[in-house]
Symmetry: C2
Subunit: 338 residues, 2 copies
């Protein structure tokens, strides 16, 4: 029942339901402004595992199991799981979900993965390709630091534009039945690369992609920021958020006071010393699958336009002098089905 | 128009068309048994680029551009591109497709990516979410060796079960119009892990997943190997192919003389010294998007059941003592639409 609206937006006429959702986070996230929102806060960031990578998988597994439980299901009733993460060869997701025994569609969207997986799950439910799907992703500060930056023991200094990888995971069970919130539409974005090469300024690398996808979405649907209670970006942080407002302003779209960024919601950046804000796939995943879904479910928010952004680089591409392509995927969420 | 058949198989009632396809490969592949089948053979495996990673991106870009051209389209007419690869953070695909200006759905399925992307593209066309999508993937011997094994200069010895990463890329343009072949059904598989830990025996790690997905597919559709002109696995190689036949035999399915493996088709293993056969995302991609699609288009093959398999590991997971989960996705292809 999916129909195309404008050039690139898919309207899901059945409005698939977020029947269950959960977020699991680490210690630092559990000390931030959203502490009361999360389903699980792990005081020990190892989660009792032998490596940071295994800890990340355990975190994601926790979020998925909780989301399925909260929807009143068991994993054997799932048709597909859509997931990915930023570890090399997506081992965060694969080892988290290996024992689930559910068809696995691995995704790669860097920090846009929550929107990509949620959009994909909702499309599959809307087109009757599936009845129940899980969308999920994760990140872990310690596994990301040593893969993308420096060994933790090195204690490298951070630039003011650098962001802080969230130790967190979020999962949503999208179904053809169940309480809300509901998914109204999905817009997968194009890669946009304006030549930013600074891997410590991901916000700047991703903002142009967010602007591009938002512009496409508003144009396809004939709406504007004023039509939404919240326009929620993934993890642009302080720098990227400012750039996004600038870029959209030039296109004639004023985000007004509607704009929030998951990377700025999850931490008190000054007090918690998290630089320009949170980042990582688990940042938008854990904020969306707790604070945001909860307010939509209760009706405190009527609609939210969620745009998660990803920086599609690797340490190798940066070392080879490449700039950082960004991508952004948008999902429009509603409190009501009808 | 997608309908579920059995538990996990999706039948695409419109039978989306492979309107264009292309394969681009390196020197060694161009000296193998399928030399005459490929659209482009690069004698220089650098493709004139400064790094092996950039060479891989150039290879994938070549295949995508050719597939789009051969279908009679231009990239601006594409709705989505579904792609991924095995390089860290999928930089093979992202840098290949960055300038296309087409919404990008990044996928991760290791060497199963050609089946995953093709299945996804066909589902999007069948459900009217899209009119024209590209499915594509790649691998490069030199970028894979240094990422997964040893620096090329080290000249490490290989075990008899080790496979040879194909330098190749394949791309298919899936559309709602156009000549065949056509996609009849798609079955995304579950992860299966029987505890294989030897990264030099990927065939053994992936065979159980192939057996699981094939069993599901045959059971869902009420068919058996005898109903297909060819049951084509991705890159199980010599060892994995033997294990697959054993595993399926125990379940009562005899692959008869229908079984072919892309990893064994692309090289003359003895003469070309490629161990147990070709591997890498580009192996099944380049064989499918040349030799196999061409025979379906001409009607020499009436139907082919394509199952690409992926080994979902990373050097980090292996170093941490983890076993290798496998995954396999199946796509049923027909010469005719009706």
């Amino acid at each position: 029942m999916t129909e195309r609206v404008g050039r690139y937006t898919l309207r899901l006429r059945s409005r698939p339901a977020i029947a269950g959702y959960a977020a699991a986070v680490g210690k630092k996230e559990g000390e931030g402004p959203l502490a009361a929102e999360f389903d699980r806060i792990f005081e020990d960031n190892t989660l009792g595992e032998e490596s940071w990578e295994k800890a990340e998988s355990a975190l994601l597994n926790t979020a998925v199991q909780l989301a399925v439980q909260k929807a009143g299901f068991t994993p054997d009733l799932l048709d597909y799981v859509f997931a990915g993460d930023l570890l090399n060869q997506s081992i965060g997701a694969t080892f988290a979900l290996r024992d689930l025994s559910v068809p696995f569609v691995g995704l790669f969207g860097a920090c846009s993965t929550m929107a990509l997986s949620l959009g994909m799950a909702a499309i599959f439910v809307d087109t009757i390709s599936a009845a129940r799907c899980v969308a999920a992703t994760s990140s872990h500060f310690c596994s990301a630091e040593r893969q993308f930056r420096f060994p933790l023991e090195y204690g490298g200094q951070r630039t003011p534009t650098a962001q802080w990888t969230v130790t967190g995971a979020g999962a949503a069970l999208v179904g053809n039945t169940g309480g809300g919130p509901f998914v109204e539409s999905v817009t997968f974005g194009k890669m946009v690369d304006l030549g930013i090469k600074d891997a410590n300024n991901m916000g700047a690398a991703m903002a142009p992609a967010a602007a591009d996808t938002l512009k496409t979405y508003f144009s396809d649907t004939g709406t504007s920021p004023a039509d939404y209670d919240m326009v929620l970006t993934g993890d642009l942080g302080e720098t990227g958020s400012r750039l996004l407002r600038d870029l959209l302003g030039r296109e004639g779209y004023d985000l007004l006071n509607r704009h929030r960024d998951c990377g700025l919601l999850i931490f008190d950046c000054e007090k918690q010393k998290t630089g320009a804000g949170g980042s990582g796939c688990g940042c938008s995943a854990s904020v969306l699958c707790s604070y945001v879904f909860e307010r939509l479910r209760r009706g405190n928010l009527k609609n939210v336009l969620f745009i998660a952004t990803g920086a599609l680089m690797s340490p190798t591409s940066s070392q080879q002098g490449e700039s950082i392509p960004g991508v952004a995927h948008a999902v429009c969420l509603r409190a009501n089905r009808g």
